[in-house]
């Protein structure tokens, strides 16, 4: 590729080995996956292949005409619209330098209507887009025509998409494109992960639609950093360190010192709320940095995000406080310093973030951790161990989610229509749906076309219709517009736009949060303190508040559970502590706390299950520490609570974290007689299913499913009146379905997703078997131990009860104004518990 070599030379770059390997594979017609911890060079590895191919087909430069740009050849899928413009710019560089007559544009939720209009008439040569916008393109009756000359599909940050429903949506879109263009290459760009072969398969599909031939692809490793350094900020005294909570602001000075180590830095936090808190704290401490520091998370409006991204690229910002919103992409703007506030909860995630620092190829990458409570030091020590042993999490794709499929059916019905048999075959070439049964497909089709079983006698319902020519299509304009508008919804909790009464949009916040505000209440968003005025027309209207303090909005999408790989490593560290071995700075820092735990109770060994029992003014507490991560604990807690409540009428509230769970009840639990059988792995599926009926998990999971399957619609064409009439919470729909259509497969999907993704039922099974095979230690303690404390003050609680509702109610009292709980900036300590 002489032209390409020249271009690289002109930039004083030398192509990496993996880039040459990619170009060769592409020339051989292959698809593949490029994986590495850093972003260095992945983009150009595939992009130059596509440019080179076109140049080879059009060697005569005189035929290159700006007036006749080539039609759509490359589709570049990126998970975040925030990344689209950066990607666009990177792709344009060589196009401009080589004077290629290519048009490179993006198409996302941010794209203006002018550009959209232009693209309707003519698509660019290379289109950068998100999974949602790709679906929208497929929901166009000219879709097949539009993609007739497609040569290359790139999915960027595939590790990020793959195990989410947006990844499933992408898989279905790719299956469609692969059917239309079997010769197009598919290339994925990804971080390192534990299941690369599955990642490749999820990208290229199982088999070719027309021939049934098994697809092949190559795995290519990209540029890895020479070494990775993980260190942490350790306070001089740990005793006064907050046990748990949002703040690690004790470390603020040290974090600022770390920021000052370089010219540019990224401060990663785990939740949007933390981002807002830290940004404010840094700004308060360093007011002279105003304008040089920024915050970035997915709930901010486009203008704010772009300002930050530009600032980073131009080196104008010295510090950006962000969430995983900046985990991805931007391999064009490495920073000097990377700080991780709180535990990263996974090895892969930390490595990815570390890879954002110092992008000189072959240089060392470094991250400085600032934990927000004592036990996070344990996790950091464990992460370092795991990383050095190459242990990285696998990211499994979701198995055949029917809500995504039902959305896709409507998309395809809009995009030219489909024949049922053919679409079934096509969908099965997507890895996620390789095991889709005909029955499941028929159910989904029936649900979408006829409303499913519950509505069989119902002629009024019509989403897609079967035409005389045997194709399913959408024949209703309002339906078409509604569907297109809902594809554009980012999957997540219902959010409302927040806007100044006489002015600009600020961003988004959760509807649940906004709905509880009274006029005059203050909250923080986007670094500004705002005063709530009202909610109207599906927007929250605010004015700038004068006072400094506000409530930080709570986003449910916040806390990540710790990965099982990391919990393994944590337990190994605890074993070391039991043996008196404290081998790292982090472990030495928390030594006093672990010794206190040993004194008041015990540090469980890897094969022990520790249970602590304590009575406080709040009630009777049972603390159980399986160390299996929050998801497994939710399931185990529900299970144990259910089994106990079957033997005696009792009500528990449950709180859960990554180390264990708490069952709190007004009455004592006669647990001694119930051990160890209450932890038996026998009858797990049944018992869990029953406990699910009493818990909120399935209902919460249904929220997402309802939105994806089009049961809950957030934005309507035709204005507010129709919107008001069609507002129903997913919780209400869940109740109606449970009562009147209990066989509905979407309900089953809710249960299944809770089992598999929320409760990790396989992991739960293994954990129970391990408990039964090991020792259970039951300690009666006089006060909550260091392990117990974080659970004690955990805010989010669920309830499990076998008491009759009326009996429960008689013991409860009305929550008067002052007791209604608002999310505060600093959680209150339960001093009564000490």
């Amino acid at each position: 590729m002489p032209l390409i070599d020249d271009w690289f030379a002109s930039r004083a770059w030398s192509p990496f080995g993996f880039q040459r390997a990619t170009w060769k594979a592409y020339q051989d017609g292959q698809s593949g996956l490029i994986h590495a911890a850093t972003g260095t060079g992945k983009t150009y590895a595939v992009w130059m292949s596509a440019l080179s191919e076109w140049i080879d087909e059009h060697p005569d430069r005189t035929t290159w005409s700006e007036q006749k740009p080539p039609g759509l050849r490359v589709l570049w899928v990126t998970p975040l619209r925030a990344l689209a413009s950066d990607t666009e710019n990177a792709l344009l560089q060589p196009v401009r330098d080589l004077a290629l007559p290519w048009i490179v544009e993006s198409r996302t939720g941010d794209t203006t209507s002018t550009v959209r209009g232009r693209q309707r008439r003519r698509l660019p040569t290379a289109l950068v887009t998100t999974p949602e916008s790709l679906s929208l393109l497929l929901a166009n009756k000219d879709a097949e025509q539009n993609f007739r000359d497609l040569r290359l599909i790139v999915v960027d940050e595939w590790h990020e998409l793959m195990s989410s429903k947006r990844g499933t949506q992408t898989e279905l879109a790719l299956a469609r494109l692969r059917r239309w263009r079997p010769s197009a290459r598919l290339w994925g760009l990804s971080a390192t992960m534990g299941n690369l072969d599955v990642a490749l398969r999820a990208l290229i599909g199982t088999a070719e639609y027309a021939t049934g031939e098994i697809k092949q692809g190559v795995l290519i490793q990209g540029q890895e950093p020479k070494a990775i350094h993980i260190d942490s900020i350790i306070p001089p005294t740990m005793e006064r360190f907050p046990w748990a909570g949002h703040l690690g602001l004790k470390l603020l000075d040290s974090v600022i010192g770390t920021i000052q180590r370089g010219r540019t830095s990224l401060v990663f936090t785990n939740t949007r709320a933390q981002t807002e808190i830290w940004y404010q704290a840094i700004l308060d401490a360093k007011p002279e940095w105003a304008g040089e520091i920024a915050l970035h998370h997915g709930s901010l409006d486009k203008a704010s995000r772009e300002w930050v991204e530009n600032g980073l690229r131009e080196g104008k910002l010295r510090c950006v406080v962000c969430t995983s919103s900046l985990d991805l992409g931007v391999d064009f703007a490495p920073v000097d310093v990377v700080i991780q506030v709180g535990s990263p909860k996974g090895v892969g995630r930390l490595l990815q973030r570390t890879g954002r620092s110092g992008h000189q190829p072959g240089a060392e990458s470094r991250v400085t951790c600032a934990p927000t409570h004592a036990f996070e030091y344990l996790e950091i020590a464990a992460v370092r161990d795991a990383a050095s042993r190459g242990i990285i999490e696998a990211r499994p794709p979701i198995e055949k989610p029917l809500d995504v499929l039902s959305q896709h059916l409507v998309t395809v019905a809009l995009g030219g229509g489909f024949v049922a048999d053919e679409l079934f075959q096509e969908v099965r070439t997507a890895y996620a749906y390789r095991q889709l049964t005909r029955g499941e497909f028929e159910w989904t089709l029936d649900f979408v076309a006829r409303g499913g079983n519950a509505l069989h006698a119902y002629p009024e319902y019509s989403r897609i219709v079967l035409n005389a020519d045997g194709r399913y299509q959408v024949d209703n304009n309002v339906m078409a517009r509604t569907h297109r508008m809902s594809i554009g919804t980012i999957l997540g909790d219902a959010t409302l736009k927040v806007q100044f009464i006489r002015g600009a949009e600020i961003g988004f916040a959760e509807e649940n949060f906004l709905a509880r505000l009274q006029p005059g209440d203050k909250f923080t968003l986007g670094g500004k303190v705002l005063e709530f005025v009202r909610i109207r027309d599906m927007k929250a209207w605010v004015r700038a508040a004068s006072s400094k303090r506000g409530i930080v909005p709570r986003w449910f999408g916040g806390s990540l559970p710790i990965s099982s790989e990391l919990t393994q490593a944590v337990r190994e560290k605890l074993d070391e502590a039991r043996a008196g071995v404290y081998a790292s700075d982090e472990m030495r820092a928390i030594r006093p706390i672990l010794e206190l735990q040993a004194k008041w109770s015990t540090i469980p060994s890897r094969n022990d299950l520790l249970i602590e029992r304590v009575k406080t003014r709040e009630g009777n507490h049972l603390f159980v520490y399986p160390f299996e991560g929050r998801l497994v604990h939710e399931g185990m807690a529900s299970l144990i609570a259910y089994r106990v409540s079957r033997m005696t009428p009792i009500t528990f509230t449950i709180s859960v974290n990554d180390y264990g769970f708490e069952l709190l009840s007004p009455d004592e639990t006669p647990l001694d007689d119930m051990l160890p059988t209450v932890f038996s792995a026998d009858n797990l599926a049944d018992d869990i299913a029953h406990s699910l009926n009493a818990s909120e998990l399935a209902k919460r999971q249904f929220r997402e499913i309802a939105r994806i399957a089009g049961l809950v619609i957030q934005r309507f064409p035709g204005g507010q009146k129709s919107a008001k009439q069609l507002q129903a919470s997913s919780s209400l729909l869940y109740d109606v379905f449970t009562k009147y259509d209990p066989d509905n497969l979407l309900l089953h999907q809710a249960y299944r997703e809770v089992l598999e993704r929320q409760l990790e039922i396989n992991r739960l099974q293994n954990a129970l078997e391990k408990i039964m095979a090991g020792k259970i230690i039951l300690n009666d303690v006089r006060r909550p131990t260091p392990f117990a404390f974080p659970l004690l003050i955990e805010r989010v609680r669920q309830t499990m009860t076998s008491e009759a509702l009326a009996d429960r109610v008689r013991k409860m009292t009305l929550a008067l104004e002052k007791e209604i709980i608002h999310e505060q900036v600093a959680p209150k300590h339960q001093s009564s518990a000490l």
Partner: protein
């Protein structure tokens, strides 16, 4: 058998039913509010596949209330029908059949916001429709909760529920009758309805509905 909570409002004895009705024995009047008939079919018309069955369940519950109270009149405090788009053959059939079963019962509707949009109910439902306020001494009947100088107000519209707290950090949200100094808000009758949490004051009386029981809190 439904056993009501017996209490008094504005010195008038009333019966509060877990089936979400309020009966005034001296006047022989049964009051319900916010039935939102046709809400599920409105959704189905918009291609959201809500299963059928909730309307039949609601009408059966209304029959239970009527059987327990034998009222001389049924009054609906607004939002009888959810939307004009909710009228369709199945819904009309179910309600028509119900009305025939209760053909001798006079029914009055005090208009609510949804009724204003949807228009008056079909003639053959035989319902007398009035605008608020509707005077029924000692009460003033309205859809929206407000004070009225002519008397004590009974209203709907809010779909009220309250938050209960208990030992061990329990929380529970339940629909309720919210009795304040000069007005009372009845719980929403319809089942396919979201309830809104209201904050009661110490001087209010709140009766929550817990399955088959009405309990004072």
């Amino acid at each position: 058998m439904s056993i009501p909570m017996v209490t008094s409002i504005a010195n008038e004895p009333v019966h509060l039913y877990a089936q979400r009705g309020l009966y005034v024995p001296r006047l022989g009047v049964l009051l319900i509010t916010d039935t939102h008939w046709g809400k599920a079919s409105t959704f189905r018309r918009a291609a959201i596949p809500v299963p059928t069955g909730d309307l039949a369940g609601d009408l059966a519950r209304l029959d239970t209330l009527i059987a327990a109270t034998h009222p001389r009149r049924l009054i609906v405090l607004g939002d009888l029908v959810h939307a004009a788009r909710g009228y369709e053959p199945m819904m009309l059939g179910e309600i028509g059949a119900w009305r025939t079963r209760n053909a001798d019962l006079p029914i009055t509707l005090v208009r609510g916001n949804h009724d204003t949009h949807a228009g008056d109910p079909p003639r053959d439902w035989d319902i007398d429709v009035y605008d608020a306020p509707y005077l029924l001494p000692p009460f003033v009947l309205m859809h929206y909760p407000a004070r009225h100088e002519a008397g004590y107000v009974l209203s709907g519209h809010l779909h009220p529920a309250v938050q209960l707290v208990g030992k061990g950090r329990q929380k529970l949200k339940l629909p309720c009758f919210w009795i304040q100094r000069d007005h009372t808000v009845l719980p929403a009758f319809g089942s396919f309805i979201s309830h809104m949490t209201v904050t009661a004051r110490e001087s209010d009386r709140v009766y929550v509905i817990a399955d088959q029981d009405v309990i004072a809190v």
